[in-house]
Subunit: 62 residues, 6 copies
């Protein structure tokens, strides 16, 4: 505890490394606690599996 | 808000497109709110990773 | 399978009843399968526990 | 997208406000994207509903 | 890692204590690993927020 | 209901089969209910997508 889960589109491994470090630091800074107890799970979502406004992201035209 | 997440076995992209559209419409019809605020996340699950009654679906015999 | 989970702000029991029925029908219509196998889990979220743009919803001014 | 969900023990509203702001800033800093698209959902968990090592936290003696 | 989450109707604290212990033991027995690394999160769901077959459980007649 | 979800690193199919059976039995033993109603969803997580203490597991040195 705590567990932080991030659902996002694909990122590079370097971005994920930086994200994990900075989310952990943000948690400790604002809520306290032991840094080692903070778990982060990243789920990378395909644009074919995410929709907003009823439209799949991969099929949006803009 | 709201976020609707669907965990299901694999479907075609056309089915996912129709599902996202119809779930969104069903939400607006029954609960109101702004269609664009509705987010849908589809997770397709392998039959090797889902069990009911203690038996993995991919290993069921029927 | 499938499991549909909805995270939303509080609604009346009548709205939740209608939502469950219509999401289930939308799933069967677009993806097929057995209506009885469709499970829906509604999570009602306090506005103090949801943020967008870095601001908790309950504290937004508009 | 993205959606960041935090499961943690109870915190004050001020801590949750700071957490939402800082997690959002950490995401933008490391992964880019539009700050307004970042959604955060906080779930506060009772110590009677969380276990590690097979023991419910509320019942741990130390 | 691993994280085991259980969504179920309300149970007594004694049942949750036994459940956490036995799920943890079942994991170690079948998948190995360090017992202390196993985290369990129990979510108790109201029957007004769960549906199957399109009908909210609290409203089912049987 | 209930739904048990397990997030863990990759395991063999035999381990997942045993895990599903034993988690289901553990639930019935401690909380009762109908075995067939118990659903289990396994999510296998890459070590590049899981962090503790702010460090991605795949990048830890030990």
């Amino acid at each position: 505890m705590p567990v932080i889960r991030v659902e996002m589109f694909r990122r590079t491994q370097e971005q994920k490394r930086d994200l994990a470090r900075e989310l952990t630091e943000a948690f400790v800074r604002t809520c306290g606690g032991n840094k080692d107890a903070i778990k982060i799970l990243i789920t990378e979502v395909d644009k074919t599996n995410w929709a907003s406004g009823g439209v799949i992201t991969a099929e949006k035209q803009n």
